[in-house]
Each structure stands twice: as C-alpha cells, then as structure tokens.
Amino acid sequence: MDRWDGGDMKELAEWVIRDLFSKNPDTWQYTWAIYLAGMALAAVICLGFVAVFAGPVTWVERRTAGRIMSRIGPNRVGPQGVLQWLADGIKNLLKEDLIPDDADKPLFRLAPYLVFSGMFGTFVVLPFGANLIAADLDIGVLYLMAVTTLVVVGLLTAGWASNSKWALYGGIRSAAQLVSYEVPIAFALLVVVISTGSLSTQAIIKAQGGWPWQWFVAKNPFTFIAFFLLLTSAMAEGNRIPFDLPEAESELVAGYNTEYSGMRFLFFLFEEWANLWIMGAITTLCFLGGWQIPGVSPEKISASSGWTFVGWQLLSFAIFAAKVSWIVFIVIQARWTLPRLRVDQLMSTCWKYLVPMTLVCIAGVLFMDLYIVQGGITDKIIRWIMTLLGAAVIVLFFLRARYNYKMDKDKYPGLRNEKMWYPPYRMP
C-alpha cells in the first residue's frame, strides 16, 4: 500500500481505488461511485467548515463591534456569549417562513439557495492546507471568478421576486456593484496569475514561500499595490461597509432581503459571513503566501509520511487560518469604523480609480517580470524593501492607535488611574 501524496480529492479517490481496491481507476466499473463518495465527503467537510466558521465569526464580529462601539455585545449564551450563533440559528429555524402574497414565490424561494451555492462553490478551489483542497483545478482562479457571479444572480432574484420596491433597489444596486467590482478583482488576480504562470490556486501558493519576503505582496511595488486593491474590491464584493449599499439599512430598509424572514433570511447572512472567509482566503492565497510554512518547502511536506505528514498539514492549515483571520479582523474593524459611500461614489471608486490602478499594476508586473531576474540581486533588494515597507505600514497602524489612545489619557489625568483600558470610561 502506497502512501497518499496527492493534492486534492480526485487524487485521493484514485489512491483509494488503486491501493485499497487494487483496481485501475481508468477501467474499473465502480470508479464513479468512489468519485461520488469523494465529492460528497469534500462537500460535507466544506459545509461543516463554513458553518463552524460563519457562526462563531458572527459572535466575534458582534463582540468586536461592541468593544469598538463602547458597549458589551452578546455575552449571555454560553461563556462570554460564544454560543450566541447557535441560539440565533435555532431561533431563525423555528421562525415562520413568511412569503409575501404578491411575491414571485418559486423565485423567492430559490434566491437564497442561488446566493448560497454561489458562495459555497468557491470552496472547491480554496485550499485549507498543503494538501487540503477539494479540487486543485487547473483553471482555479477563473472558476473562482465565474462561480461568484452566481451570487449576483441570487441577489437580483431576491430583489425582483420580493415584489417590494426597496428590495428591488437593493437587488439592482447589488447587480451594479458586484458586476463592476468583479473587474478590478479579476485584474488584481491577473497580476498574481502573471507572476505565477498558472491559474491553479495551489500553484499560486507554491510559487510563493513561507517567509514574508517570499510572498507576492513583497515581490515588487506593483504587487504590493495590487494587494490593497484586491482587499478593497473584495470588501465591495462581499457587501461590507463602506460598500454595503445593497443592504444600506438607513436608505433601503434592508435592501434585497427586506421581505425575507426565518431560515431564508439566515441564508443571506450565512453567505455574508462565509464571504469573510472567502475574502480572506483569496487575499491570503494570492498575496500572503497561503499555507506556506516558513522554512519548510512543499516538497518536504510531500516527502514526509505518517504523523509528520499529518502534522505538517495541520500546521499549514493553522498558518492559513491565522492569516485569513487577520484579514477578517481588518475587514470587521473597517465595517465598524467607516461610513457608507454613495452609489455614484461607489461606481467612480471602481471605474475611475480601482480599474485604472489595477491595469497599471498589470503593466508594471509584466515589465518587472521581463527585466528582473527571479532570485537575482535586484529581485532580492526589491523584496527586502517591500517587506520593510509592509512592516512599516503595520507599525504605523499601531503607532496611530497608540497616539489616539495616549492623546486622551494625557489630557484627562483621571483616565490614568482606570483599571479598565480604553473604551469604557468611568463616568464622573
């Protein structure tokens, strides 16, 4: 019995046929069954993961929001409220599923599933660790772009089928917004694809290394910019403030989900929070070295066996999850800090700024790839400079936070004696 060294679920299925059943996968008549079982397994794992991520992250978001907003947030269900998401889920499941009388009922029922499958489809090509991926498609990035479009269809369907003018506004807004922002996302991903020479997500990660200076974000100034462009566009694609126009509650009541209730409503929220992971995962795999373990090459992981192999997989997953969580946390913080753009400002941000900038990035990366030898001394110098720049950005962020913190503390001596740190001032 050989060791399984494959990359994705297809190879796992072939390994099972070859080594457990001792059959040739090309000729055996039950190959399809094993493939089907593999697909089902992958789907169940991904679905479980999405649920377990999207649920608790709502709690994380609400507690973070509470901290930022100088209030407490959910803290009653379970220790510190960690089980709040389960309570919310159960409550929504038990709620009446209201469908407006004049709604287009089949479409109304269908829309949440369209949105959900559009989101869930992306998990096929998102890696979780060195060898943990449902299918390492050759056209991974292209597939990613294609399948997320299904979300637009779902939102538009929801808006139209509700037969409510506010929902229609939300649907139309989301169509305009999501279609527009796919352009800068595609271009930003193209920067990575050009640098890698492959559309496969695993190949993109393997083209980077474990250390920050081996990541694409530090490859050259253009990839550095492309990282921020991708992050911004991904926030727009995920309907997060400052780009949450499709569900702008102060303008459109609730946007496309105005008429939804119960479980169907939950599906939209589910999609929204699962999107956080997708957002973070795409940025991480494209620019932040994905699951790469510093100092351990992918070949070394493949060459290992037994518990070492399992250990590397878990470590790579932990690294990937940590990077994604960091991005998710930034996105959450942005949501609770910034106001919302207006719809024309949103469009001009996309077409006047993001699209031209990504185009410049593509041109710049082509130029750099042509004239700078990979691994040469110029390449190394550029990578070091970009790494330091990235570090400087992070340091600046913390200095800025400290400045704001100190500014109040110095001015108001009473605050210095506080036991609690910043937000909850003791009221005089």
């Binding site: 929001a65 930022i68 907003m69 100088s70 209030r71 003018k165 506004y169 403030i241 400052p242 949450d244 702008a248 509650e249 102060s250 303008e251 459109l252 009541v253 609770w336 800090t337 910034l338 106001p339 919302r340 753009l341 207006r342 719809v343 024309d344 400002q345 704001n404 500014m407 109040d408 001015k411 108001y412 009473g414 001032y425 009221m427 005089p428």
Partner: protein
C-alpha cells in the same frame, strides 16, 4: 423701528388698508384689511429700513364670529419685530395667501386651513396637512363637533371590556380589513421611466413616523413630497382644555428630545401674560437645564446623522455621553426624557451642589470626547464626501423658508434668539453664535449643518461652566396665584431650542384656560423646504438631508 413708527409709515402708505393699531397688547399689533394684505406684506418685506424678511409664525384664531390670522414678522437684518392681524367673517373666511411673499407661509397656511378652515386665496396647494384628507370639520374652531366615528374608530367604547367576548365560541368573525387608497400623492403622477416610491411612514431614517413620497429616476430624485401628520395628537386643542399650569407636562411631548425648551417657552409665555418676575436662581436653573438638554439633543442629532450615512459607532459613543446627561437630569428633576421641570414662575426643584459637581466633572470629560469624536468621524473623508456640497441652502432661501436655529445659522445667517432677543439670563453669559463657515464644502451644505451643531455643543459647555459658577443663592419660584387667570391679552414668546425657534402664541380671554395656544416649531418649517431642495439629489442624499435638519416627527405634527 418700533411698532408705532411702522404703523405711522403704513397709514401714510395705505390709508385705506390699515384698520387699527392695538397698542395695549403685549406685542402691539397692526390690523390690516384682507384686501390690502398682499400690498402691505410686500411693502413690509421690500421697503428699505423695514425688511421684514422672516415670517416667524402664522397662527389662526377663531374669534367665534370672525376668524383671525396673526403674522409674527421679524427682520433678520434690522432686528425688529411686528405683528399683523387680518380678520375674516366666520361664514366665508377668505384671506389672501402670503405664500408668494414668504415661502414658509405655504405650510403654515395649510395648517391654518386644516385646523381652522381658513381659505387662503392664491395658495397653490391648499390641502390638509396634519389631518387626513377625508376628515370632516376643523378641530380648532370653537364650534367643532367631533365625528362619532372615523373608519370604524370611535373615541370611546361604552361597553368597555365587556364588549369583547372571552373564551368560548372560538374566534369571532372579523370584518375584513379595508385598505384605504392612498389619500395624498404628488400632484403629477410619475410618467415614463419615473418610479414612485414611498419612503415611510415606517423607515429607518425618517426619525419617527414621517412619509416622503419620492419620484425617482433610478437613484436620482425628481420630486419629494413630505407627508406629515402621522403623529398629530392635537396638542393645541388639548391646551385649550387645560389650565395654564396643567399644560406644562403636555408641552414635554412636543419635542421629546428637547423637553426643557418646550417647558421654558410655555413658562415664559405665561409669565409674560401674568407679568411675573422670575427669581434669578430659577433663571440660572433654567439656563443650565436648557444647555444640558441642548447638548443631549445635539448628541442625538450628530450621532444619528453619522448613523444615517452608515457609520454606527459614533452614535453609540454619543448615547454613552447622553446617558450621563440623563443621569444629571434625573438628579435634578427625577425624569430622564420628559422632564416637566419648569413651573410658571420658576422651576420645580433646586439644583443641588452634588449636581453642580457632577456636571462640572462631566464637562471636563466631555471636552476630550468632543475631540475624540472629531477624529473619529468629523474628519473622515467618506463622511465629508457624503455631506459636503449636498443640499446647499442659500441664506436667502433659509430665511424665506423660515428655517431656524442651527439650520438657519449653517447657511451663514447670524441669528440666535439667545443673543438677539435675550431672555432669561443669557445676556449675563458669554458665548459665541456659531454660523456656517463652509468648513468642507459650500456655505449651507449638510456638513455645515452637522458641524454647526458640533460647535454649538462647545458653546453650550462654555455657557454651562459660567452658569454653574455664577448661580446665585435665592428662591427658585416666584409668588404665583393658585389659579392662573391672566387678563385678556395675547403673547408670542420664543426660545432658542435645539431645533430652532420654538414659539408659543398664547391668547388668553381671562378664563383659567388659554383661549388659543399655537406652537411654532423648528422641525415644521425645516420640513417645508425639503420639496424645494430635493430635485437632483440621490436617495442617499435625501437621507443625509433629513438627518441634517434634525427633524423630530412629534415636533412637526404636534
């Protein structure tokens, strides 16, 4: 120029049109013939040296055999006041409309038509405003008889709970709900590609129960018609049935975010009628609670403005600060929202040293939080982009539409009742009047209205510090007769509320109840300019515009 001089001028100019000069009234009034009203009004507005550009209030009064309309005029440029009266026979009350001269008269006249049935000739849109279109009768007329029922709703249920069957018999068959057809609508139905949208009565950013009927082309508005009256509680009718002092708690409900101003204005009006001198300490108490209330109200205004453009965090930070003000108010008067603190001739309770200490400590804390708030949201680029250059109101328009308070000052009009027509102890206190300075865009845009309120809070802090220090010892209530029976007279008193001029026009006939009480509020006038401003705005801008006016729905509808 005082009223007598103006009367002399008018008699010279319109020997036929002027009827009488009522000098014995507290606010001397000039009575004008209906036929000459338009000429006189135009003369008063246009003549050099008079320049009555600001119509503060227009009230209708039912004198039983006659209906009277009272115009409270003010000149922002010259700083003088004038009261004009016009009378019409009760049978066929026709009075020419001045809405072409002062645009703010448009809504005021609709209200007078709605509540008193005065027919304003030349008004282009004389519809009911506070009551539904199919209401019968005009409630503020003295001979008004309420309808026995309105769409199945009766004022009383004679059988009480016994009429409702209990338990057995299952569910009673109910008559099917009949939906009424939309009663009002924009006069021109949307044509072609225009889209008709009802924003309200229940909508997150209408700040209460308001309705805006929008005609939109995609996101761009072509017309917005505000529809008010959902919260009309007939407060003016209520006042006519209550004794003077008994109306005080009802005034709390005019503007639930600024109850102190409502108390203050009512108390001042009756004190002027009775000619009562209020003790110094009571006046200081009033100013202190007024300014605390102003800060609390502006906290909600600026916070909800940030929330309406999508930033949640500032609002909760401001609510946290407001909580302390509520605590202080609770220490002062026992209530946190509807205070009922003031009394005719003074205030109900004294401000204790503990309150003074707590307020001073909180003010020190608040200074820092104000700066923090500026760093959090006022300087935020997205916030500025959403508010600057949006819905710019010129100074002329602001005056013409009768905007008041921060909304007027944001357009660069330097007018504050606290300074220009001083009441209470404001003359003894040092503060600046904040006017718009085109901080981020042009003068009179939404950002100016926002930042005016921010700076006004700083001024309120200044006032509070001075007032808390300068508060003298002494009584907190003047000697007031048990039953208040003012001599027949009439008075218009105004205070600078957080939402602008809050005016009380009170007519007494010598009985213990007011003959007529008219409340003039800032939100009502600011709502009337929305239709003028809205074409070309986007849906999201309308939300910012409504928030920037700091409209409180009960104050619009009363």
């Amino acid at each position: 120029m005082d009223a007598r001089e103006i009367y002399g001028l008018l008699v010279q100019k319109f020997p036929e049109g002027i009827l009488e000069f009522k000098e014995n009234l507290l606010d001397p009034a000039i009575e004008v013939k209906p036929q000459a009203l338009i000429d006189v009004a135009f003369f008063l507005k246009a003549e050099q040296g008079l320049e009555f550009d600001y119509l503060r209030c227009l009230s209708g009064v039912d004198l039983k055999d006659q209906l009277e309309v009272v115009y409270q005029l003010h000149s922002i440029a010259k700083g003088h006041d004038l009261v004009i009266k016009v009378k019409a026979a009760a049978g066929d009350p026709v009075i020419p409309s001045v809405s072409g001269i002062w645009k703010t008269a448009n809504w005021h006249e609709r209200e007078a038509f709605d509540l008193l049935g005065i027919n304003f000739q030349g008004h282009d849109d004389l519809r009911r405003i506070l009551l539904p279109e199919d209401w019968i009768g005009h409630p503020l007329k003295k001979d008004y008889v309420p309808q026995p029922e309105y769409h199945g709703i009766t004022p009383d249920r004679p059988d009480g709970l016994d009429a409702i069957p209990i338990g057995e018999g299952g569910e009673q068959p109910r008559p099917p709900i009949q939906y009424l057809p939309a009663m009002h609508g924009p006069k021109d139905e949307p044509e072609g590609k225009l889209f008709h949208l009802n924003m309200g009565p229940h909508h997150p950013s209408t700040h209460g129960v308001l309705n805006f009927m929008l005609n939109t082309d995609g996101e761009v508005l072509s017309r917005v018609v505000p529809e008010v009256g959902y919260l009309h509680r007939g407060m003016e009718k209520l006042a006519e049935n209550l004794q003077y002092s008994g109306n005080m708690p009802y005034t709390d409900r005019i503007d639930y975010l600024g109850s102190m101003f409502c108390n203050h204005g009512w108390a001042m009006a009756i004190e002027r009628l009775l000619n009562i001198e209020v003790p110094k300490r009571a006046e200081y108490c009033r100013v202190i609670v007024d300014e605390l209330n102003r800060i609390a109200s502006h906290l909600i205004a600026t916070g909800s403005m940030a929330m309406d453009v999508g930033a949640f965090t500032p609002f909760t930070h401001w609510l946290r600060e407001r909580e302390t003000i509520n605590d202080i108010m609770e220490m002062i008067c026992g209530a946190r929202l509807t205070y009922n603190y003031m009394r005719i001739g003074g205030v109900s309770r004294d401000i204790s040293p503990a309150v003074v200490e707590k307020t001073l400590a909180w003010l020190d804390h608040f200074d820092i939080i104000m700066e923090e708030f500026d760093r959090l949201i006022s300087e935020n680029q997205i916030f500025i982009k959403r508010l600057a250059e949006i819905a710019v109101i010129s100074a002329e328009d602001a005056i013409d539409y009768g905007l008041s308070g921060p909304n007027l000052r944001a357009s660069g009009v330097d007018f504050d009742i606290r300074r220009d027509e001083p009441y209470s102890v404001y003359p003894e206190l040092d503060f600046d009047v904040i006017t718009g300075k085109a901080w981020k865009g042009s003068l009179g845009d939404c950002y100016d209205r926002y930042y005016c309120r921010m700076d006004e809070m700083r001024q309120s802090v200044r006032i509070l510090r001075q007032a808390l220090k300068a508060m003298p010892e002494g009584d907190i209530r003047a000697k007031v007769p048990k039953t208040i029976k003012p001599d027949p007279n009439e008075v218009y008193s105004r205070v600078e509320s957080a939402r602008g001029e809050l005016g009380y026009y009170v007519v007494s006939d010598g009985s213990p109840k007011p003959y007529r009480a008219k409340y003039r509020t800032g939100s009502f006038t600011s709502m009337s300019i929305i239709e003028h401003l809205s074409p070309g705005l986007m849906v999201a801008d309308l939300v910012a515009l409504i928030a920037s006016f700091d409209v409180v729905a009960p104050e619009v509808d009363r």
